[in-house]
């Protein structure tokens, strides 16, 4: 940690940074208002899949960058799971050197265009910004700036492709192409490893592709990042399920010396209440996969999707918000969130909730389904809800929802999306009997280098955390890459 502090200090001490700091009085910086993200009109956007946040202009970005005080003790960095050198990149924005700003992001973050869009900054960097913690003011819009820089670089047509060490010929396999796998692949290929990413689906990207919708994260942005990894030499092998198409043992025999499992938390949970298997009731994974990965809402694609007039989405996470907003875009007259606590406890990002409200999503908070009813064809048409009230705080610190006796009532719904969490994907563990698992089905690893009980297998992302965020998954991928590097260096020395 010491040398990191030293490095930050050195960077901060550079002449250009000193000059910039002096160019404007702190008071003046403090007097500026935070930039507002340009948003697509809520009425128009709810009828299309175009991205809601349109980005900010160069001028807006530079003005926002001026708000950053370039603190001697940048607490924001501690709030970032991958420790982006935040003041440095922001000061490059102020200096209008966007290419170097982009390079700064990429020192530690392989997917800035993605993170700038989907990270819960309000809980991370921006929550640790000097403005927030010391001044009790609105923080610098770090997330908007990150996105601005990444988009600027992509649109400039001159994307910086990080340098790659000469090949050392050592084969490493990455299992799963979600953010953890992509981050691990990027770091390992830079170190000279010969990296193959195995993906079960027909397209790489994991949740970024099949889960998060176009209006929040266009697939094109993910594809550009994957293309860059390919340019750096990463090989992507789709339609390949490790544990089925070939086992880790098979891959070892083919020369792979280390493995990173970033296989995600793919298994959707259901509530196991009566009637839940009726037609028209599905997991958010199924709903979003049909729409996002399979393009089911387009006539010229073969996959079908059900359109609902009265759509109820059960849950309060990002996945629930994405599902309900998708339903709205597919023509729902009523698109409703059914959540058993209140807005305050909702795990979804604040921005998503705000956008959902703007788009006319109804929030039926303190409600929980207890039964579903179907028509003669088996299609859901009604659900029974029970009202809840908040009781004592539970283990997570949130107040526990308690059912109110006798409060049951019926609500019409012809499409129900169940979004009550996921469990870790069991494919890898099932094929490795010796692997140490937690009782929640996650792979147990040491938290520094992400090494599992099988020395050549490292793991990270949702398969270890049981459901987290893009940035935490990426951080894991990077730590695991460092762990794999150390492991292989030691092993090949012997």
């Amino acid at each position: 940690m010491e040398n990191i502090a030293e490095y930050l200090k050195q960077e901060r001490g550079q002449e250009w940074r000193e000059e910039l700091r002096k160019s404007m009085k702190p008071k003046e910086r403090l007097s500026k208002d935070r930039v507002q993200m340009i948003e697509e009109d809520s009425f128009l956007r709810a009828q299309s899949h175009i991205e809601v946040n349109r980005g900010i202009t160069v001028q807006m970005a530079v003005e926002e960058a001026k708000r950053c005080l370039d603190c001697p003790d940048p607490t924001c960095i501690q709030g970032c799971p991958v420790s982006i050198n935040i003041p440095k990149f922001i000061k490059y924005v102020e200096k209008q050197d966007f290419a170097l700003a982009a390079r700064t992001l990429k020192e530690t973050n392989a997917l800035p265009a993605v993170c700038g869009r989907v990270c819960p900054q309000e809980k991370q960097c921006e929550a640790s910004c000097f403005y927030t913690i010391k001044l009790k003011k609105i923080p610098v819009a770090i997330g908007h700036l990150e996105r601005f820089v990444a988009d600027w670089e992509r649109n400039s047509g001159k994307m910086y492709i990080p340098e790659v060490a000469p090949s050392n010929g050592i084969k490493v396999a990455i299992i799963g192409s979600g953010p953890s796998g992509l981050a691990a692949a990027g770091d390992l290929v830079k170190l000279g490893y010969s990296v193959s990413v195995f993906e079960a689906l027909h397209e790489p990207g994991g949740v970024l592709k099949y889960g998060i919708p176009e209006f929040r994260l266009p697939n094109e942005i993910v594809d550009v990042e994957i293309e860059n990894l390919k340019k750096m030499g990463v090989e992507f092998i789709t339609n390949f399920i490790v544990g089925k198409t070939a086992t880790i043992e098979d891959l070892k025999a083919e020369g792979y010396q280390a493995f990173f499992a970033g296989s995600g938390a793919g298994l959707p949970n259901f509530m196991n209440i009566p009637g839940e298997n009726a037609n028209g009731i599905m997991s958010s994974n199924e709903y979003l996969t049909r729409v996002n990965l399979m393009n089911a809402a387009h006539d010229d694609y073969d996959t079908p999707v059900l359109f609902g007039k009265k759509v109820a989405v059960i849950g309060g996470g990002n996945t629930a918000m994405d599902s309900v907003r998708t339903a709205k875009r597919l023509g729902a007259e009523r698109a409703m969130i059914i959540y058993r606590r209140t807005l305050e406890e909702m795990p979804a990002r604040v921005e998503e909730v705000k956008h959902a409200q703007q788009e006319g999503i109804e929030f039926l908070n303190l409600n929980s389904p207890i039964e579903y009813f179907a028509d003669k064809n088996g299609r859901v048409n009604r659900m029974r809800l029970q009202k809840m009230e908040l009781g004592e705080p539970d283990d997570s610190g949130r107040r526990r929802p308690v059912p109110i006796e006798g409060s049951e009532y019926d609500l019409e719904a012809d499409l129900v999306v169940v979004s009550v969490g996921v469990s870790p994907n069991p494919l890898i563990p099932a094929s490795l009997p010796g692997l140490k698992m937690s009782r929640w089905g996650t792979i147990i690893v040491d938290d520094k280098e992400m090494q599992s009980s099988i020395p050549e297998l490292f793991a990270g992302g949702d398969i270890v955390r049981g459901g987290a965020t893009v940035i935490l998954a990426m951080g894991d991928g990077r730590n695991a890459a460092a762990g794999i590097h150390r492991y292989l260096q030691n092993k090949n020395k012997k």
Binding site: H202, I241, P268, F270, M282, N285, D302, N377, N425
Partner: protein, 279 residues
Amino acid sequence: MNKIISVDKLSENVVRLEIEAPRIAKKRKAGHFVIVKLGLKGERIPLTISSSNPEKGTITLIIQKVGVTSHKISILKAGDEITDVVGPLGQATHVEKIGTVLCAGGGVGTAPLLPIVEAMKKAGNRVITVLAARNKELIILEKEIREYSDEVIIMTDDGSYGKQGLVTQGMEEIIQREKVDKSIIIGPAIMMKFGSMLTKKYNIPTEASLNAIMVDGTGMCGACRVSVGGVTKFVCVDGPEFNAHDVNFDELLMRLGGFKEEEYKAYQSYLEGLKKETV
């Protein structure tokens, strides 16, 4: 991309494709299936692996024309390519020597049944197979099934081949004649339902291979869920074979109709399109 090596027509609506898939050919066991996607805009559909040739690196799939995707696949030719093939998926059939095994295949269900018949025979069982279909034309793979069965009984609804009657009549005849230790039934959900009611009456342990609607085939979406013994299971990872006596076939039947309207419309407009092309 997986290249098609050969295509042959088994009946008016059923074709057999041999395709290149070396890794799957090496790993697959009886009971496994693959998910196939045709073209960039295609949907993902499950197909049982009917047989494989690990030396040649090929697997065979049998497809009945029932909707857009199966139709598109059924008109492919040798040398064409299938965009995506992933597998082998699902749990392999539990194969052991138990004595006499009564296998029943309805319609295109004979395709997934074939590898099981083969495996059961090779494990040293006495295998009796009942094949059933609406008419003679729809009885497929008879030669291959005979190769691995001690006895084959054919039942057609219209009596155009074998005996006239339903699959359950053929099964019951055997059950009354000799001791059956296990039964395996594969075919349309309605046929499996009645077949399983029959074997339940005689207390014969029975497996059915369920043809649920799927998307990913890896346990990620839950589209394929069924109730088995009152518990929700995912066919793609927990199955496709289950204890038939515990399966809620009525729910399966209902769920199979989940996209009926959408599928019907899509197929009609696809067929319209085909007509226009040929005019």
